[in-house]
Structures are given as structure tokens and as C-alpha cells.
């Protein structure tokens, strides 16, 4: 927040269109997740979902710094990453409902959305499971010389997995264009990360000599500007980076995790939502800059709400896969 205020000095150079696009994307993720929760509560969605609400600035800020053909890997809490990388709302909902028009023809579901058209190598339901994939994509980008960058999104809980230390080591040895984006939303499922973490999160990457940055993950301006720098140095062959974004998960571990007082307080939740909300922070900054009128935000929210409602309806109306698809796509 303070950094956002400092930026008032440079108000004249604000690219309003860029930030309103960021705002729209963050609103889209927020509205999408609200709708997912509604679909769960009304028993229209099979299974569970892990909502990204509260963390929108991280996905949007990082993905705005990427090209469409750059790669990302995502997590079980992946809807935000997929949308920020360019996925369409309707096909996302269709996948969550197990419909044939979903990104994976209904075979993946909430935790496995993948989309080659937007460089999305896939969300992964094994915590930390995509670290190797993201690093391998960077390996091939370097060897093929196609200038692409790979971003590995993961939560702080994934740093409990050994795979991360194996691949960060290789990424640094071989100067691979991969950015490890650690979203510290404070909770490894239902346990505060300080109970499971020795030392500091960022020191894990520093041990390999990897370039690290720690940012306020609620401020999309700070996320974007940092990501842009890291993407630029990765593209120039200067090697991997580790970006620690401090953020917060508004909902529980998943949609069914509604009684949370035993592991975190209502006061803490309210504090983040009222004082550190990524949408409010961006709104405040744009308003203070004098470049944007409040009605602009209202219009964007209204447009996005319509898009999300239409997307959900498209998915509800879409057909289920034909039973003959059950053994298709096991092999190429």
C-alpha cells in the first residue's frame, strides 16, 4: 500500500488502460470464485474447489508480465492463474461441472485445468508436483531458443516438498528462464505456515544463489512491476528467480471448509478483507491518481458479472461427455 501511495509521484505516467485491464481481470477471478462457491452450495458442482479469492493480484500481476506463449504451471487453487493467463470463463465453468465443453473435456475438473493455447501446462493436485514440469518447460525454452519464460505458481506449503529443492538447484546451475512464484497465503491447508516452516521461506531459494524478491502480493502494481523485471532478466538468460508474494486466502482450504475458527480468527480474516483487499488497493490508487472515476469500476464490475453469469449458464447448459470418452486419451 505504501508503495502504491509513493507512486502518486508518477501519476502522469500511469497507463490507465493497463491498470483497468488488471482490475477487470481481478474482478473476473473474484466473481468467478463467488459463482463457484454458489454452484457448490446449490449442489450443481460435483466435488470440491479451492477458491483463489483474496490472492487475485498475484496471478494477474504476474500473468500481465507474460506473453501468451509463455508457460505457467498452476496448483489445486488454480482458477485465478488459468483465468489470468487467458482462459475463458465459460469453458472454465464447464470443466468444473464435468462437461464436454470444458478445457479438458470434463476429464480434469477444478484441479487440472490445462490449456496449450494460453501456455497453461496444467494445474496440479499434487502439492509441489508441477515444479519439475515448469523447470522442464524452461529447459526446453532455453534449448530450443524460443525466448519463452516459465512461471511456476505454488503455495508456501509446497516448500515442504523435496522436489522444489532438486529443481531450483538445476534451474540455477543451468540458468533456466523459470520464475518460482511462491504465494504465501499463510496456511498449509489448515495449519499456519509458521508451524511447519524452519527458517524463512525466501532463504530456501537464496541457498541456491537464486535471485529472490519479497513483495506485497495484495498490490497488483507491485506484483506486475516486479514480475516484469524478473521476466525480463529470465528472457535475457540471466537465470531463474524466486518471487515470494505475501497474500491471503479469503475462503477456507476448499469450499467445504467453513468452520475455520479453530485455526484462524474471524478478526484476521476481516482485517485482510477490509484493509488489504487487492481490488480496493487498486481502486484507491487509481482514484487518488485522479485518472479514474468510480463509475468506471462500477461499469467493469457490472460487465464482468454479466460475463460470469453467462459463462456459468453456458456450462450448466453444456452436455456431459459421451460415455465412449471414458477410455479415450489414455494414450496419444
Amino acid at each position: 500500500m505504501s508503495k502504491a501511495k509513493e507512486r502518486k509521484e508518477n501519476q502522469q505516467s500511469i497507463d490507465v488502460e493497463h491498470w483497468l485491464d488488471a482490475y477487470e481481470q481481478m474482478v473476473k477471478i473474484r466473481e468467478f470464485e463467488e459463482k463457484v462457491n454458489e454452484l457448490y452450495i446449490t449442489a450443481k458442482m460435483p466435488g470440491l474447489s479451492h477458491l483463489y479469492s483474496g490472492q487475485e493480484a498475484v496471478a494477474v500481476g504476474v500473468c500481465q508480465a507474460l506473453n501468451r506463449d509463455d508457460y505457467i504451471t498452476s496448483t489445486h487453487r488454480g482458477h485465478g492463474h488459468c483465468l489470468a493467463k487467458g482462459a475463458a470463463v465459460g469453458r472454465m465453468f464447464a470443466e468444473l461441472l464435468g462437461k464436454v465443453d470444458g478445457y479438458c473435456r470434463g476429464k480434469g475438473g477444478s484441479m487440472h485445468i490445462a490449456d496449450p493455447d494460453t501456455g497453461n501446462l496444467g494445474a496440479n493436485a499434487i502439492v509441489g508436483g508441477s515444479a519439475g514440469i515448469a523447470t522442464g518447460a524452461a529447459f526446453s525454452a532455453k534449448h530450443l531458443g524460443n525466448g519463452r519464460v516459465s512461471v511456476c505458481f505454488f503455495g508456501e506449503g509446497a516448500l515442504g516438498q523435496g522436489l522444489f529443492y532438486e529443481v531450483m538447484n538445476m534451474a540455477q546451475i543451468w540458468k533456466l528462464p523459470v520464475i518460482y512464484v511462491c504465494e504465501n497465503n499463510l496456511y498449509n491447508e489448515y495449519t499456519h505456515y509458521t508451524e511447519t516452516t524452519a527458517g524463512s521461506l525466501v532463504d530456501r531459494a537464496k541457498a541456491f544463489g537464486i535471485h529472490t524478491e519479497v513483495i506485497n502480493g495484495q498490490d497488483v502494481v507491485e506484483v506486475y512491476e516486479t514480475a516484469l523485471r524478473l521476466v525480463d532478466r529470465a528472457r535475457k538468460g540471466e537465470g531463474p528467480a524466486f518471487l515470494l508474494a505475501n497474500t491471503y486466502r479469503y475462503y477456507g482450504h476448499h469450499v467445504g471448509d467453513i468452520r475455520r475458527e479453530y485455526y484462524r480468527s474471524k478478526e484476521e480474516e476481516t482485517d485482510w478483507q477490509e484493509n488489504r483487499d487487492p481490488l480496493s488497493i487498486l481502486e484507491d490508487w487509481l482514484l487518488e491518481s485522479g485518472t479514474t472515476d468510480p463509475s468506471v469500476f462500477a461499469r467493469i464490475r457490472s460487465d464482468v458479472n454479466k460475463e460470469v453469469e453467462e459463462g456459468a449458464q453456458f456450462a450448466l447448459d453444456a452436455p456431459y461427455p459421451d460415455p465412449s470418452e471414458v477410455d479415450q486419451h489414455v494414450y496419444c
Binding site: 508436483g129 523447470t135 522442464g136 534449448h143 532438486e166 529443481v167 538445476m170 494414450y331
Partner: protein, 334 residues
């Protein structure tokens, strides 16, 4: 052997594997090898010796001792335009790659609705009696043969190893390729100069016979062939069938042979319990039930961790003598 050989050139099992890799690396610049001590060392078995001189360290990549990491890196590289050959020095270490093989490589094509592909090969070893004890002697191909989305190759001859490895590298699916480390230099055979590949899921009849079918994999093919010679001395003609790939499995050739001979033994160096032998025996029992004159017998590695002492270790794997004895019983010659 049923396969026609067009030249008299002989290579060892290890030489055939290196030749397949070198040919595929020349043909396709996206093929690379990554693993522990694969470059200047050419692996501790020296199978890859000389490869780095031709292709350089960018394509024959010495990795840290990080089996999960290099397998995961291989999955990602395979999805994005490369054809990695991940070298896992000892088959026992595939346990360290299991999340990447089972949860990632095997499922990515399916989970993405057929959009992403993982054209990766994991090369590793198998086989006991090398006096390497319990953590360097296992044959764990059964583990991966259990998983839809993977393909599993268990070659027994230099000719098969070369043709199957070339097919594995060109396959768009993840393939696990198990090489018996004792065969690298001990097994020699004809390998033609000319280009060839061998399709997956096609068993090879290594010896024809009419009295009993011996289905065998990898080094057990040689055990079965020696057993067949012992049986021939008492007038029993064994047919030796090598499935060559356990996944996909050429069921029809196995069933056809069992129907012809009415008796079958399945021999494989994985543990007997829940093993490849169990699957194949079940396939034969199911497909040839009305033609069988005896229950299908299974011979795998003894269900104990592989012991170090040679006296003990040699007891744990099928031998030509033990296979011949079992065959005689099945044929009522004992």
C-alpha cells in the same frame, strides 16, 4: 527367432542401446539424454560411452543426484517440444520418480482431455545376481506396468533393444524402458546396419515348440531358452515367447501359443507376488482355459528383499534348471 536378420553384424546389448540413442539423436535434434554420470562417464555401466563426444554436454546432460527432479524436468521438457531420455541408473531408484511418472507423466494427456503430450523415455535397469544387494538389484517394471498412460518395455536381445528403444523415443507417450544390467556386455546378437524399429505390443516367438509355452521377459528369455535346451534332451519341445513390452501386452500371441501347447509357465524377474507373471498367467488362463491341461505356473523373483551373499542371492531368481524342472512336472515327465 521369427524376426528376419539382414546382416551378420553382432553387437552387445549395451552397444545396441547406445546405437539406438545415437541414431535417434542424429535424426531428431530435440532428443536429449539427462541423468547422473551420463556424459563423460557414459553411465557406470559405460553404456553411453562416447555419446557426449558426438552430441556435447547440451544434449548429454550430467545431472545432480535428483531422480525426481530430472524426471519432472523431463516431463516438462517433453510437453514443450523436446524428447527427453531420462536415465535412472538403477531400477531401484524409480521409486524416487514415482510421483512424476505415475501422477504426472501418465495422466497429463488424459487429464488435459488429450491436449498435452509427454513424449518422454525413462531408461533404467533391472536384474539381480550382480552381488549388489537389496537396493541395487530389483526389477520394478511391474509397478509401472500397473499404470494406464505409461508404456513399459523389457527387451531381451540387442536386436529388440535397439528397435524398441527407437520406437520408444518416437512414441508420443511416456515410456519406461527396463534394461537388464547383466546383459549389457554378456548378451550379444545380430543387429543389422539398416534402419529398423519394432512396434510395441507385438510379442516375439524366440523358439517354436509344441509341448509347453514358456513366456519370459528380459533376461528370463535366455533362462527360458536354456531351459528349452534341457527339455529337448528329454524330448520335450518348449515354445519360448517374449512379450517384449508388458504394457501394451500382446495377449493374442500368448493365448495362441498356450492353446497350441496346452501348458504354460510365465517367467519374469520381478517379485512373484502381484507381479507381471500374475497378470500374464491370468491372461492365458482366461483366454486358453478350455485348451489347458495344467494350471498356468508362475516363476518370479522370490518374495524376499534381494540378499547380498551369493549363496542366498542365487536362490532368489529362476534358473534354466528350475524352469526345466517345473516344465517337466507340468508335462507329466516327473
Amino acid at each position: 527367432m521369427s524376426t528376419v536378420k539382414t546382416a551378420s553384424r553382432e553387437l552387445t546389448f549395451g552397444q545396441a542401446i547406445k546405437e539406438a540413442l545415437a541414431e535417434e539423436m542424429r535424426r531428431d535434434p530435440t532428443v536429449f539424454v539427462i541423468g547422473e554420470d551420463v556424459a563423460e562417464t557414459g553411465t557406470p555401466f559405460k553404456v553411453l560411452a562416447g555419446l557426449v563426444e558426438e552430441f556435447g554436454t547440451d544434449r548429454v546432460v550430467d545431472s545432480p543426484i535428483s531422480e525426481a527432479g530430472i524426471t519432472g524436468l523431463g516431463v516438462g521438457a517433453a510437453m514443450t517440444g523436446m524428447r527427453p531420455v531420462v536415465d535412472i541408473m538403477f531400477g531401484d531408484f524409480v521409486t524416487l520418480t514415482m510421483d512424476q511418472m505415475v501422477n504426472q507423466a501418465a495422466k497429463i494427456h488424459y487429464m488435459s482431455g488429450g491436449k498435452w503430450k509427454v513424449p518422454m523415455v525413462l531408461r533404467t535397469t533391472m536384474g539381480a545376481t550382480r552381488r549388489s544387494a537389496a537396493q541395487h538389484s530389483q526389477s520394478l517394471h511391474t509397478w509401472l506396468s500397473h499404470i494406464p498412460g505409461l508404456k513399459v518395455v523389457v527387451p531381451s536381445t540387442p536386436y529388440d533393444a535397439k528397435g524398441l528403444l527407437k520406437t520408444a523415443i518416437r512414441d508420443d507417450n511416456p515410456v519406461a524402458f527396463f534394461e537388464d544390467k547383466l546383459m549389457y556386455s554378456s548378451i550379444k546378437g545380430h543387429v543389422p546396419e539398416e534402419e529398423y524399429t519394432i512396434p510395441f505390443g507385438v510379442a516375439d516367438v524366440k523358439r517354436t515348440g509344441t509341448d509347453i509355452t514358456l513366456v519370459a521377459t528380459s533376461s528370463m528369455v535366455h533362462v527360458a531358452l536354456e531351459a528349452a535346451e534341457l527339455l529337448a534332451e528329454i524330448g520335450l519341445e518348449a515354445e519360448v515367447i517374449d512379450p517384449r513390452t508388458t504394457l501394451p501386452l500382446d495377449k493374442s500371441t500368448l493365448i495362441h501359443s498356450a492353446k497350441k501347447t496346452s501348458r504354460a509357465i510365465v517367467i519374469d524377474e520381478g517379485h512373484e507376488q502381484y507381479g507381471v507373471t500374475a497378470e500374464i498367467a491370468s491372461v492365458i488362463a482366461d483366454g486358453a482355459f478350455y485348451y489347458l491341461d495344467a494350471p498356468v505356473k508362475r516363476m518370479g523373483a522370490m518374495d524376499v528383499p534381494v540378499p547380498f551373499s551369493p549363496v542366498l542371492e542365487d536362490l532368489t531368481v529362476p534358473t534354466p534348471e528350475s524352469v526345466a524342472e517345473t516344465a517337466k512336472v507340468l508335462c507329466g515327465k516327473k
